[in-house]
């Protein structure tokens, strides 16, 4: 359905996209992930024929985005980032306008409207001017206009940015509903959303695709497993309760433990996150250690690395590489490394991937890079 081959976009000396290739098959819901300025919006604008690529090609529904832009746009519904619509029009007028431009007749418009009002929850605001709507409702209208012609492909650029958690959850719910019988590609820098609503993820960083596959596959790319445990701080089976350092040192000494990081806890327990390889299960060893020492193990949890960790390690390593590249006397790329071509500036606060309690990035930086 969507096929990008070697897409490159150059703004002056700045390379926003560097040979980006991927394919989205019919019926897939794909998350297009990347930090701000990674090139997500640029890619989407090329796919919707708003911008042209400097190199490479892309096909949407079999049509070339450069040669047949109108045919491409007929087949897609597009919701740009922070969708802006004509504020002075009412919701119904706006949808009518979009339908007119798309050449939809009255009968099918009315039929589609019923469906859209239901799916996007627009019933109460149809007569209101768009400028009076809250951000969440505007986003729903944006989704509505993208669906008005019942397109086989939906391209959504950060559909949940700037929404509050309730609105976010709602919009995601709509997307899930819509994605049941459509091909959807949605960009975001919020990983939770991808895990929730997409089956597949493409991670892009600094204009390059750094990972592409089913969510589980991508998640497994880190090749690590995380263990979280709580050890009682006040009591023990035998002797005195252990100190923080004691537990930390003993855990670090177990063969196969890659890192130990303390978790913030209350004064009843010591909490730790351990990182181990996927091939070895450390739970037995940890349990044995606690029994040997006479510690009270309150909780132990093992989970495959979160997508967030993989994302961090992939994109962070890339940034490091990028810094090296700009430090070298290279002839291209004299822009600052964090130059942002698709005006995401206000989203910086939304970079929420950093406050997590994980230990992965300490060691993950230089590994799994490709």
């Amino acid at each position: 359905m969507i096929e990008a081959t070697g897409l490159t976009k150059v703004y002056g000396a700045y390379r926003a996209l560097d040979r980006v290739s991927f394919e989205v098959r019919k019926g897939e819901v794909v998350g297009f992930l990347g930090p701000n300025g990674a090139g997500k919006s640029t890619t989407m604008r090329i796919l919707t024929c708003y911008n042209s690529a400097s190199g490479g090609s892309a096909k949407v529904h079999g049509y070339d985005v450069f040669d047949e832009p109108l045919a491409v746009r007929e087949k897609i519904g597009y919701l740009p980032q922070r969708a802006q619509m004509y504020g002075e029009m009412s919701v119904k007028e706006y949808l009518r306008f979009v339908a007119d431009v798309r050449g939809i007749d009255d009968a099918s418009f009315n039929k589609r409207m019923r469906n859209i009002v239901e799916v996007c929850g627009l019933g109460t605001v149809l007569g209101k001017d768009i400028r009076q709507l809250s951000h969440g409702y505007r986003q729903r209208v944006g989704l509505g206009q993208a669906l008005i012609h019942n397109p086989p492909i939906l391209i959504l650029d950060e559909p949940t940015s700037d929404l509050d958690p309730n609105e976010k959850a709602e919009v995601l719910e709509y997307i899930k509903e819509i994605g049941k019988d459509r091909t959807v590609i949605l960009s975001t820098h919020n990983l939770g959303e991808v895990e929730e609503s997409c089956a597949r993820a493409i991670i892009i960083s600094k204009g390059r695709v750094v990972a592409d596959g089913a969510i589980d596959e991508v998640r497994a790319r880190g090749g690590r497993v995380r263990y979280q445990l709580l050890v009682d701080e006040k009591a023990a089976l035998r002797g005195t309760a252990p100190s923080n350092e004691e537990v930390s040192a003993a855990l670090g000494a177990i063969a196969g433990v890659l890192s130990v990081k303390e978790l913030p806890t209350d004064d009843r327990a010591h909490g730790f996150t351990l990182l181990g390889n996927k091939s070895t299960d450390l739970r037995g060893e940890i349990f044995k250690l606690c029994v040997e020492k006479g510690w009270l193990l309150l909780e132990m949890r093992r989970d495959i690395q979160k997508l967030e960790d993989v994302f961090k390690s992939l994109t962070k390593g890339d940034e490091a590489a990028d810094r090296l590249r700009t430090a070298a006397p290279a002839d291209e790329d004299d822009e600052p490394a964090d130059e942002d071509e698709d005006d995401d500036v206000e989203d910086e606060a939304g970079e929420d991937a950093s406050d997590d309690d994980d230990a992965s990035d300490d060691k993950a930086d230089s590994k799994d890079e490709d």
Partner: protein
């Protein structure tokens, strides 16, 4: 074509969704009325059943206020607010966007021009019957105004497509149209050598409009206004296409 008309319709209606259209039309009609009857001795001193004053003043009112106001937001505002991306990613050609916006804005100006027909209708028809009006120059004058306003709106549209700022679009359009008017003024021409005078007269709006006012529809003037219109529309189209490569 229907896409173009849909865009034009939306554009035209949007003027009436905000106070812009009402303010512009009312103020222009009041202003014109005042100028027509009082400025420079006004209508009564001339003592002729002629609308010449009207045809001299309308283009100036249009160029110096109305058209810059009407065209400044056409593309600039859409670019700034981001609605352009929504519009262009619908199945529309860039040329249809330009043409639709042009027709929408020109439509509003034509409505305003149409409203000025109230003057001759009231004065020379019922209720005041001020005399027999020579309808030839009036018809030619209105044709000239329609052609002139097409050219001026196209220029405004082109300038609006070059920037993201309505204010810049307003001032640049104002300055360009201002000069296109005053270039042909006698005071300017008398300061210049013969050859320059010829060139300036050739490109001046005022001198082009003069023959229409006298009832003379000259192909050269028609072609002149049409060329400016098409040239500016092509310029605007090119300015809109530019986004693809920037």
């Amino acid at each position: 074509m229907s896409t173009t008309l849909n865009i034009a319709k939306r554009e035209f209606r949007s003027y009436f969704d905000s106070p812009v259209a009402y303010v512009v039309i009312c103020l222009s009609l009041f202003g014109l009325g005042g100028v027509f009857f009082n400025y420079n001795g006004g209508f009564w001193q001339a003592n002729r059943a002629s609308l010449e004053q009207l045809f001299v003043q309308i283009p100036r009112a249009l160029s110096w206020i109305v058209i810059p106001v009407v065209t400044m937001r056409l593309i600039a505002e859409e670019k700034r607010s981001g609605t352009l991306e929504m519009l262009i990613t619908l199945p529309v050609k860039d040329s249809e966007v330009i043409l639709g916006k042009f027709l929408g804005a020109w439509g509003l100006v034509l409505v305003l021009l149409g409203a000025t027909i109230v003057y001759p209708a009231l004065m020379f028809g019922a209720p005041w019957n001020l005399g027999a009006l020579d309808s030839g120059p009036v018809a030619a004058g209105y044709l000239g105004l329609a052609l002139y306003s097409a050219a001026a709106v196209a220029i405004g549209l082109f300038i609006s497509a070059l920037t993201e700022s309505q204010i810049i679009a307003f001032f640049v359009t104002f300055v360009v149209l201002f000069f296109l008017h005053v270039l042909g003024a006698g005071a300017v021409l008398s300061m210049l050598p013969q050859r320059a005078e010829y060139v300036l007269t050739f490109i001046s709006f005022d001198s082009r409009l003069a023959s229409f006012m006298r009832g003379l529809v000259n192909t050269r003037d028609v072609v002149y206004f049409l060329s400016i219109t098409f040239g500016s529309l092509i310029g605007a189209f090119w300015a809109l296409e530019r986004r693809k490569w920037n």
